[in-house]
């Protein structure tokens, strides 16, 4: 039996005693404790090895006027908890009278059964040895690959807890690991090119290191022979990672918090409206087996769920916290954080094709199509180039200009458009949903988007 990092019963008893002493009757908390280890390599030598032990707790209290205050701290000592409670109580004097969060009505509901395995740590020496071999292997894949400037192999064990003064008590123990290899290659007289791969697993021993090396090498080498692309409007195919980046960046269209705050592209009455091509369906499913980082409950203790967002192009549901669900008169969906104003975030987008609807161009296939198109592999600088509340984007990308079946890497370019128009202009969704580290999606084809190149 492994030693637990969080003793949730003890934490509940401590908070009960401390809150009574300052006459707080209603409180809840979210706590996370993690132990992480990571290594980096530089040309065969260990560069930096890191380990950390982190505590984090957020305490919410309701004062006698039912106004909410919170405080977060890394100090889990009794003194730290007491200070956090007092600070949260002071903050409650500034609570928002017009929107007060309550306990989720689902904070005691049964949690979904998941088969999340707990993996043993392989330790720093094994992480280093594996990463060292991976770097060597990647460098040996091609003479042009001259360095792996960004690399890391990490593993962590973590525990999360949610507890409230009405008896809800949630606890989750998990392990996860990640490997990333980002190679840089250069041929004489040409500019350096770089690309990489990231793999996640429940433990370091789960990670397919060879696949990560292969993918990093292929992605990097495929871009060695680049050419500028002519500025213009093109047929575009988004690879799964790129489309998932876009849909996540514009998730305000199905985020109830954003709608209430007036920063969404949707409105409260958008449910039932057609917002995309009829072939598109989208679920948000934190419980999907490919979601290594998923948890079984959110910041308010609500169970994680599989929510249908878009079906046949029709907007079906929004994602909710307790407070937004109450305003919309629906049930919370398990997408909440914890706070005085509770944030709402998507979990795990799963994009798929509605097989009952025919695509406008059903034969388009990113490997077979002879028509001229742009294949977008990665979108960059999303934080700067996405205007989520305006619905527009203008983003640098890595990708290919494909003509007559021949792929030519694009030297440097941006792609721009309106997200809602893009959804309407989806003309083909390929059959195979690809599992990525950020969700599931097939290749998605868009009728026309503007690409800015170098000439």
């Amino acid at each position: 039996m492994k030693e637990s990092l969080i003793n949730e019963s003890q934490l509940r008893d401590q908070l009960s005693t401390l809150s009574k002493a300052i006459n707080i009757k209603k409180w809840d908390l979210g706590a996370t404790i993690s132990k992480d280890m990571s290594v980096q390599i530089d040309k065969g030598n260990p560069k930096q090895i890191k380990a950390s032990q982190k505590n984090s707790i957020t305490i919410r209290v309701w004062n006698s006027e039912n106004l909410v205050g919170i405080t977060s701290t890394s100090d889990l000592s009794e003194k730290g908890l007491q200070k956090a409670l007092e600070s949260a109580y002071q903050a409650s004097q500034f609570g928002n009278i017009s929107e007060t969060p309550e306990f989720s009505i689902m904070s005691k509901a049964e949690l979904p059964l998941t088969s999340r395995p707990i993996k043993d740590s392989i330790g720093v020496k094994a992480l280093l040895a594996s990463l060292k071999n991976a770097e060597k292997d990647l460098l040996n894949r091609h003479k042009s690959i001259n360095s792996v400037p960004y690399n890391g192999f990490a593993e962590s064990t973590f525990e999360r807890a949610y507890i409230n003064s009405e008896g809800a008590i949630r606890h989750l123990h998990g392990t996860q690991a990640s490997l990333y290899l980002y190679a840089k290659a250069q041929e004489e007289g040409k500019k350096p090119r770089s690309s990489g791969s990231i793999k996640l697993g429940y433990g370091a021993s789960d990670i397919d290191i060879n696949d990560c090396i292969k993918e990093a090498a292929e992605k990097t080498l495929n871009h060695l022979n680049y050419k500028p692309v002519k500025t213009g409007r093109y047929l575009v195919c988004f690879k799964p990672e790129a489309f998932l980046d876009l849909i996540t960046s514009f998730s305000n269209i199905y985020n109830a918090r954003s709608i209430i705050d007036g920063v969404s592209l949707s409105r409260k009455d958008s449910i039932g409206k057609e917002i995309s091509s009829r072939i598109l369906s989208l679920n948000d499913n934190g419980l999907h087996p490919s979601n290594i980082t998923g948890t079984t409950f959110d910041g308010e203790g609500t169970p994680t769920q599989d929510i249908q967002i878009i079906n046949n192009g029709i907007l079906k549901n929004f994602i909710h916290s307790e407070a937004t669900a109450r305003i919309f008169n629906v049930m919370p969906t398990g997408h909440a954080g914890i706070g005085a104003k509770v944030s709402v975030s998507p979990d795990w987008p799963v994009v798929y094709k509605n097989k009952n609807q025919k695509a406008k161009y059903p034969l388009l296939n990113y490997q077979k199509t002879k028509d001229e198109f742009i294949l977008v592999e990665n979108l960059n600088a999303l934080h700067a180039g996405v205007k989520a509340s305006q619905g527009s984007f203008s983003l640098p990308f890595d990708g290919w200009h494909v003509k007559d079946g021949i792929k030519t890497s694009i030297e440097s370019a941006t792609i721009a458009g309106d997200f809602l128009r893009l959804l309407k202009n989806i003309i083909q969704i390929e059959d195979d949903g690809i599992y990525t580290h950020q969700g599931v999606s097939p290749h998605i084809w868009i009728e026309e988007l503007t690409v800015t190149g170098d000439k």
């Binding site: 090895i49 890191k50 380990a51 950390s52 928002n96 007036g262 600088a381 527009s392």
Partner: protein
């Protein structure tokens, strides 16, 4: 507790505390480490959000932690923890030593000579926290600001104001005798508006940041900012998308400096030499930019968001000339950078918190003023773009940078004309630096946050108006 947690609240370090630090440092060096550093941090933050005319969220947080870094040759091991107990700290130190193949008592000679006397940069700063406005005063000020957005904005549909005050107390003790302490006060204010008219939308925001200026929030001219934001939002509301292509550009002062920060500044950090991701590695003394360009990074400007008295490795801050008249003079270096690349430390070792090892990072980075007026730059262009306000940006592993234009105008025949939106500027540092051909005389700074290897840190970017002879504009 080996390192009593309360010492940071009392702002006093007694001889027992110093002795305990020396015990840990000696423990590390006697195990064979070349260098051991202990970074102790106490942080207290209060942030809140105002939406429309209500405070919707007050978010206090506090915490303490320790980062221990051990070097052996060029390699290092780093461990961070919230556990201040003797057992916890020795466990961490053993873990860091073990990462380098070292163990307690494995080395007979111990080079550690004890800590020097405390270099206390926090003297006279304890009062800073007391002089800050109360939470009530602070919320009232930001409520006034969002109300001014309404007063001056006909289309101001969504109005937001945010405020964050951080008091960070840090202590650095290392086996070369460094023993330094500082107390920092950071405040930042954000004000944003989303203007809406039917299907038209535009969002504009401004950030104001300060260091060690307790009255900064109350002294802020919120009406001026509210007017400026609304004016920009309304101009951009009906703007057409910019047509893609290559053209000359004039970048405004203040946050326009993000181009230098992204395009060049990051490439002058020694971490980039270590990774082999800077094209400027062997260019010290060489012309890498137009002769019109001189660039500085420093931590001295009073009140600026990136100012620090000492860096996070205990070194006094300094002014570093990066580029002078186009010639590369200096890289920004930290301890690991000096060890691995040979470039002398510049007081630039910075980190978000105890959970990160320090790395070479920028502070207040700006292009020096030049001889022209902003109008002379615009008048020199027949067909180009004026970037009045920038959004964020980033630089990739091959030196390719990009940043978005929040507010832009076309330049035609030397005059500003219609507003345009949706522009992204992209390019590579080696190509664009020689093309910065004119600098105006109106240098000004703007606060921002920079995310990189050692986490998110406060920085200042800045420049006068500058002209770039040709740059790729991504648009529609």
């Amino acid at each position: 507790m080996l390192l009593e947690q309360d010492f940071l609240e009392t702002h006093s370090i007694d001889s027992t505390f110093k002795k305990n630090l020396e015990f840990l440092l000696s423990y590390g060096t006697s195990a064979g480490a070349d260098f051991v550093e202990i970074y102790v941090e106490n942080i207290d933050n209060t942030g809140f959000l105002v939406e429309q005319d209500k405070v919707t969220s007050v978010n206090p947080s506090f915490g303490k932690g320790i980062g221990i870094r051990v070097f052996l040759g060029n390699r290092d091991g780093f461990v961070s923890t919230n556990d201040f107990s003797k057992q916890g700290l020795i466990f961490c130190l053993d873990q860091a030593l073990g990462m380098l193949g070292l163990a307690k008592g494995s080395n007979s000679k111990n080079s550690f000579q004890g800590l020097k006397s405390l270099n206390d940069y926090s003297i006279n700063k304890v009062k800073l926290a007391i002089e800050c406005p109360t939470l009530k005063e602070s919320t009232n000020k930001v409520l006034e600001a969002t109300s001014l957005l309404k007063k001056h904005g006909r289309r101001a549909d969504v109005r937001r104001g945010s405020y964050s005050k951080t008091i960070q107390e840090v202590l650095v003790a290392s086996s070369d005798g460094t023993f330094a302490k500082d107390l920092r006060l950071y405040q930042s204010i954000g004000l944003n508006v989303l203007a809406v008219d039917k299907e038209y939308r535009s969002s504009i925001g401004r950030r104001i940041g300060s260091t060690e200026m307790p009255r900064a929030l109350l002294d802020w001219d919120s009406e001026d900012t509210a007017k400026e934001i609304n004016e920009s939002a309304e101009k951009m509301l009906y703007a057409n998308f910019v047509q893609a292509g290559q053209m000359p550009a004039v970048l405004a002062n203040k946050f326009g400096g993000v181009i230098f920060h992204e395009a060049c500044g990051h490439l002058l950090e020694t971490t980039q030499i270590e990774r082999g991701t800077t094209p400027f590695k062997d260019k010290i003394g060489k012309q890498i930019a137009n002769k019109a360009l001189t660039a500085i990074d420093e931590g001295n400007t009073q009140g600026a968001f990136g100012s620090i008295s000492m860096d996070d490795e205990g070194m006094k801050t300094q002014k570093t000339v990066l580029i002078q008249n186009g010639i590369l003079k200096t890289f920004l270096s930290d301890r690991a950078g000096e060890l691995r690349t040979g470039h002398k430390r510049t007081g630039s070792g910075r980190r978000q918190s105890y959970a990160f090892a320090a790395a070479s990072r920028m502070r207040n980075t700006f292009i020096e003023r030049g001889p022209y007026t902003p109008n002379q730059l615009i008048e020199s262009i027949d067909n180009g773009i004026y970037c009045k306000s920038m959004g964020g940006g980033s630089v990739g592993a091959t030196g390719q940078f990009n940043f978005s234009v929040e507010e832009g105008y076309l330049i035609k025949n030397g005059k500003l004309t219609e507003p345009v939106k949706g522009a992204t500027l992209i390019g590579e540092a080696v190509d664009v630096m020689p093309k910065i051909s004119m600098c105006a005389n109106d240098l000004d700074l703007a606060a921002g946050f920079c995310g990189s290897i050692s986490g998110n840190i406060n920085v200042t970017v800045g420049q006068p108006h500058i002209k770039v002879d040709s740059i790729t504009i991504g648009g529609r």
